[in-house]
Amino acid sequence: MCVCPGPRRIGIPVRSSSLPLFSDAMPAPTQLFFPLIRNCELSRIYGTACYCHHKHLCCPSPYIPQSRLRYTPHPAYATFCRPKENWWQYTQGRRYASTPQKFYLTPPQVNSILKANEYSFKVPEFDGKNVSSVLGFDSNQLPANAPIEDRRSAATCLQTRGMLLGVFDGHAGCACSQAVSERLFYYIAVSLLPHETLLEIENAVESGRALLPILQWHKHPNDYFSKEASKLYFNSLRTYWQELIDLNTGESTDIDVKEALINAFKRLDNDISLEAQVGDPNSFLNYLVLRVAFSGATACVAHVDGVDLHVANTGDSRAMLGVQEEDGSWSAVTLSNDHNAQNERELERLKLEHPKNEAKSVVKQDRLLGLLMPFRAFGDVKFKWSIDLQKRVIESGPDQLNDNEYTKFIPPNYHTPPYLTAEPEVTYHRLRPQDKFLVLATDGLWETMHRQDVVRIVGEYLTGMHHQQPIAVGGYKVTLGQMHGLLTERRTKMSSVFEDQNAATHLIRHAVGNNEFGTVDHERLSKMLSLPEELARMYRDDITIIVVQFNSHVVGAYQNQE
């Protein structure tokens, strides 16, 4: 276990300075790659109590914080930004943390924090009959980073059938996860479109007619799209479908969802990389594409169409299916493989992809090149580009980039790039009536809760009280008083369920507030949520959850048709 705070996914063995990388125009104060807290002090303060969720964190020695920090927020993001990265605030934060806190949030305050980002969508019914195999979904996010680096997306494909849902875990900032969250579904949707539809869309663009809508987004008001890059992103996407049109041989072939997902992931990562290499005359955009490319994001995306469920995963987020057994109990079926050091096959793959002499250096301390936790990711061109290319882009890039120690830093033992890919692993599952829901979540959840608990908690939440074995008196001598006591106890246990109208919120409540007995402990929950931003990250990671509920009747009907 690593007891040090610091950069989340990426540990950088730099000690002298941590310049605020991309300090300008960041959507939020992500300037700091390193919280300005000295490790040694913190370890003293928290001792063994400090539970660092990011075992992958690697800061060999304390560094000296710098005071020459600049802060010039871009107007568009001004509201997101709080100028806090200065020495004064650091000391404040430290004092705050080192004094034992008596301050607790009240239950309503806790609820307002937990519910701030919750979102629910119910698939509308038509003619009283719900024809979709998806009933709807609940999603939520709880930040640990400030700002949160996780992103989520959900959309219905309008030109094909099916619904797309995804969680994206960013690192080294949120630029990449943001870009992927806005763009990936378009790439997937386009990959799924039949040739004629692509032609129709292209013709419409060409002749200036209105375009067919491709996606119906289901967004929380906080889930923003970048307006500035919209045109750039569109052009890249258009190039993609133009290529798809050109590639088409004229024979209408059935589109394979798995292939489409893989192509979309790879293509988007490729576009991110290309855009950064080409640059943009607009300096804001130029800087944006660079930030996107130099930061990284994992992605876990589900595509549900009738009984066909595809999960495409890149990185260490996870998709978990909640299955209700005949006896009513819940079991978890994992539909994705984590791409990290715990996955033997990934280790194997990396070793195969690089010369033998790199076998020891390609994964060190459970990290890619000793630095990166996930073994697959979008962006992160530092792990993809050749050294030459990296240097060239940085030199020709804006000053902020040039001044930045992180971007300039070349990973050690960097001999045979690329070391990283965005290619997803796609799992197919044919839905059965007993498959009640799917949980997509970033590793922030899976680190704190066992998958079996996750599925049980969601399952019990979605089915209401029924999970508790019904009480039957049958033959036993039970008095009214005893029964009353028993029922009151059961109800108290249930009351936490009723606080939440959103399965994802409920899950977060458990993830953050569970005590050793597996029940939500308000005091613990309150403490965890009261942590100052600077400390929150040491106790937990960003958590993003989407819970998709399936319609067993529709799924059953599909089954019967065949």
Partner: protein, 879 residues
């Protein structure tokens, strides 16, 4: 464990002769199979359902001399809800008709054992209704007043007295209670068996394990039933299928809508107490705690009506599933807590069983009886809202009378199947609505409550416009109607808090709407009214209307006639306004809830003549009521036509243009006695006309108003409304409407003979208006309806409606005054003199208020004028 053995009737003698005709509910399965009877091929009446309703109808029909009756039960007799029923007979009901039914049942069951020799377990325990709050006590006092006047003893008692009557009760949180000493407990299954036995002795043939597949209908008339054991031809069919009545109704080729839906219902049985409870320990109803408690074999039986009911059988299920319903202790927890709070000593009492017995509920918490509007001879008795045992006897009697005589001896409009239409038959609607109805059984029933579920089903095209302007809505027959309009700056209490027996929070709002109706002009959307058009090629329309209506409808084209549609007894089946559109076409406006009933009545009496066309045009027209002295200005400005009384006399109808829209039926009447016009607008023009009226009306101070204002206006003008004041047992002569009856119109009409007789003999009740004298509107309880009227200290009748009159600045109650003989209690003739020479009091929840009786509206109302020095600057503001 078969609960059947627990609650009902083990090891009692079953040897009455009547039992030979039908396979006993108690006989083992093999015995019943051996007893394979063949069904008769025809009968006069086929009754479906061997529960308490079916057996009661059979019992009463056979008592009335009808013998050719077959009763069919799909399972065993008394095996459905009847078998699981908690066995409490309670007469404390909110409606008088329900009180009467329960009272009759009580008396019937009491002597049933003697009559049939079958033990029914009838014990007169009495019941105590607890009040934890003052509002609950008011509600009990209102029931108490009504029980007393129909001869059911009851009294309001103190908590201390409650403790004396029941040894185990915690009374510390009570403010009072009502004691009804003659209420009883009884085994409902045994009652059903006793009724069946008696019916069987009277010749009714009973077959169990016989399932009715559907009812055969020929030419809109019951022709027979198709069962799994063959066909039976019959003239009358009675659907007493309980929670399956809905499904059975739909199974016909021509479906019969019987809107009801089942919910799970739980009660608890315990082992006996250490010192077993006396068998005559009173039944406790703790409505605030949502529970009832009765003694049961030395222990207790306690159940309740929870806030979060579990609807069941929405998709329609096989009856077999009733047996397998699960106990749900977690669901019962609030009720158990409530029970232990009420009787803390029960903590140590041992549980025997939690019983899950589904009960059937209806969309308005009243039971369903009567004849189907769609199929003649198809009768229904179902949807008892958990009071099947209490109503069983009385309801069976009324339905039997209905079948035999064509109408029951009491006014049962509130329970009539025809108050519903197909529009209440959606499964989703029923499922949602019963989830609201079931808790309502123990909720406080305050005046003017509205259902919250199943709303916005039928709306006027102006709904959104009105809603945006602050309309608060009520619902009638599925139609949304505005109650009043909350001004933007006004903040009303939350719905829960505005529930009151006292002055409501909208008082000022309605006052300003009424004032505006009197001084300027108001618009009320009255689109919900039922609208029919009757046309013919020749004089057929006129002839049938002359036969059906008591007034002379042979008036010049363009005239409107107010008239009653009477039954043979001269009572109002409907009260409507008929406009003669041309020589051969009439436009008929009736109350909203008449849509099904009136249609059925007309269809029943109209000759099958292809030249005579009856059309329901309710949905085709939006109706706007322009009330007030300036209505004439608004309308003439919009139509460029003179609208003064010279050109447009009262009760006149003309098609004209309003704004750009042509073909608007304008009628000079307002249903309130105020000057103004009703506009019947083809719906596509509704928004246009409304917008025009509002914009032109601005300078005349126009504003929106709602039904509460309308109600206040019509009641202070002594206007009776059908369904509230008038019913099938009231005649025009009894409510001072001789002028609307043309006995000598040269043509016979239905009810003519009865009216002629009544004219000769005098009336036995008289519709009277009461103005409350010493009633403080701010501080006293408000009258609602159903309050007893006392004349010189003697009970003479009940009110039917009430409202605050903003002109008289007094409460006005309308109601009927009888003249009961002091010696015999018989009804005697009521003369104007009798009315005028009396001191009156109205009893509101036990408090009597002095009232002035009037037989005619107060004249000064018609000449209301604002004095010059009362004019303020604010009068210049737009309303």
């Amino acid at each position: 464990m078969n609960f059947y053995r627990l609650l009902s009737i083990i090891g009692k003698q079953r040897t009455s002769p009547g039992w030979q005709n039908w396979s006993s509910a108690r006989s083992s399965a093999s015995a019943a199979e051996a007893h394979s009877t063949t069904l008769p091929t025809q009968a006069q009446v086929v009754i479906c359902g061997g529960g308490i309703m079916g057996t009661s109808v059979a019992y009463h029909l056979s008592k009335m001399g009808w013998k050719d009756i077959v009763l069919l039960e799909q399972g065993r007799l008394a095996a459905g809800s009847t078998r699981f029923c908690a066995g409490i007979l309670s007469t404390a009901r909110h409606l008088t008709i329900e009180q009467k039914m329960a009272d009759y049942s009580n008396k019937l069951y009491q002597q049933l054992e003697q009559e049939t020799g079958i033990q029914t377990g009838y014990i007169r325990t009495g019941s105590i209704f607890l009040a934890q709050t003052q509002d609950r006590l008011i509600s009990l006092k209102r029931i108490n007043s009504r029980l007393n006047v129909i001869g059911i003893p009851s009294e309001i008692i103190s908590p201390r007295k409650v403790a004396e009557l029941h040894p185990l009760l915690n009374v510390h949180d009570l403010v009072g209670a009502m004691h009804v000493p003659e209420d009883a407990v009884v085994s409902s299954a045994d009652v059903a068996l006793a009724l069946a036995s008696a019916a069987s002795q009277n010749g009714v043939q009973i077959y169990d394990r016989t399932t009715i597949l559907h009812v055969l209908v020929k030419k809109g008339q019951v022709a027979g039933v198709e069962t799994d054991k063959g066909q039976i031809e019959c003239q009358y069919f009675v659907n007493c299928a309980g929670q399956w009545a809905y499904e059975l109704g739909l199974s016909n080729e021509e479906p019969v809508s019987i809107p009801l839906h089942a919910c799970e219902h739980f009660y608890l049985l315990t082992r006996p107490l250490e010192t077993p409870l006396q068998s005559n320990t009173p039944t406790i109803v703790d409505a605030d705690g949502r529970i009832y408690i009765r003694n049961w074999q030395g222990g207790i039986l306690s159940g309740g009506f929870e806030k979060n009911p579990k609807p069941i059988f929405t998709e329609g299920k096989n009856q077999l599933e009733i047996q397998n319903l699960q106990e749900d202790w977690d669901h019962f927890e609030p009720l158990l807590s409530s029970l232990l709070r009420r009787m803390p000593e029960l903590e140590t009492l041992e549980i025997m069983k939690l019983v899950n017995c589904p009960e059937t509920f209806t969309p308005d918490m009243r039971c369903i009886m009567g004849e189907s509007p769609a199929v003649q001879g198809y009768f229904v008795l179902a949807g008892m809202n958990s009071a099947g045992l209490s109503f069983g006897g009385g309801a069976g009697k009324y339905l039997a009378e209905w079948i035999v005589h064509g109408y029951p001896s009491e006014n049962v409009w509130g329970l009539d199947l025809k108050r519903f239409g197909a529009l209440q038959s959606s499964r989703t609607f029923l499922r949602h609505r019963v989830m609201e109805v079931m808790p309502l059984i123990y909720d406080l029933k305050v005046p003017r409550w509205d259902f919250q579920t199943g709303r916005q089903l039928r709306t006027s095209p102006l709904y959104d416009r009105l809603d945006a302007q602050g309309a608060r809505w009520m619902e009638k027959h599925g139609f949304e109607r505005p109650k009043y309009f909350v001004p933007p700056d006004k903040d009303l209490l939350a719905l829960e808090q505005s529930k009151t027996f006292y002055k409501p929070d909208w008082f000022d709002i309605v006052e300003s709407e009424v004032k505006c109706c009197k001084e300027a002009v108001c618009v009320i959307d009255m689109s919900s009214f039922t609208k029919f058009e009757i046309t013919s090629t020749g004089d057929q329309a006129l002839e049938i209307l002359q036969y059906l209506f008591s007034n002379d409808v042979d008036v010049p084209v363009g005239h409107i006639v107010h008239t009653g549609m009477l039954n043979e007894g001269g009572g109002y089946e409907n009260d409507c306004s008929i406009a003669r559109l041309n020589k051969r076409s009439f436009f008929m406006i009736s109350p909203t809830d008449q849509q099904v009933h009136c249609w059925a009545w007309l269809k029943k009496h109209m000759p099958k003549d292809s030249n005579l066309l009856l059309e329901d045009v309710t949905w085709k027209y939006t109706a706007l009521n322009l009330i007030g002295p300036r209505a004439v200005d608004v309308l003439s400005e919009l139509s460029y036509a003179p609208m003064t009384p010279d050109h447009f006399p009262s009760l006149f109808c003309k098609e004209m243009s309003v704004g750009y829209a042509n073909g608007i039926r304008v009628m000079s009447m307002t249903h309130t006695g105020e000057p103004g016009f009703m506009l019947y607008i083809p719906i596509e023009y509704a928004l246009h006309v409304y917008n025009e009226v509002m914009s032109v009306g601005q300078k005349y101070g126009i504003r929106n108003a709602g039904y509460y204002a309308l109600r206040s206006l019509r009641i202070e003008k002594f206007f009776a409304f059908w369904g509230q004041d008038l019913n099938t047992l009231t005649t025009p002569l009894e409510c001072g409407r001789e002028s609307r009856v043309k006995l000598e119109k040269g043509m016979d009409f239905i009810g003519q003979d009865a009216l002629l007789q009544q004219k000769q003999n005098g009336v036995y009740k008289r519709f009277t208006m009461f103005i409350l004298d010493d009633h403080d509107t701010d501080l006293d309880l408000w009258p609602w309806w159903g309050e007893p009227i006392y004349r010189n200290g003697q009970y003479v009748g009940k009110t039917t409606s009430s409202a605050y009159s903003f002109s008289l600045e007094r409460h006005v109650c309308l109601g009927f005054v009888h003249n009961f003989s002091e010696d015999t209690g018989e009804e005697q003739v009521v003369t104007a003199d009798f009315i005028n020479r009396g001191e009156y009091e109205i009893d509101i929840a036990g408090h009597r208020f002095q009232a002035k009786a009037k037989l005619y509206p107060v004249a000064s109302l018609f000449t209301h004028k604002r004095r010059k020095d009362d004019v303020e600057l604010t009068d210049l503001h737009g309303k």
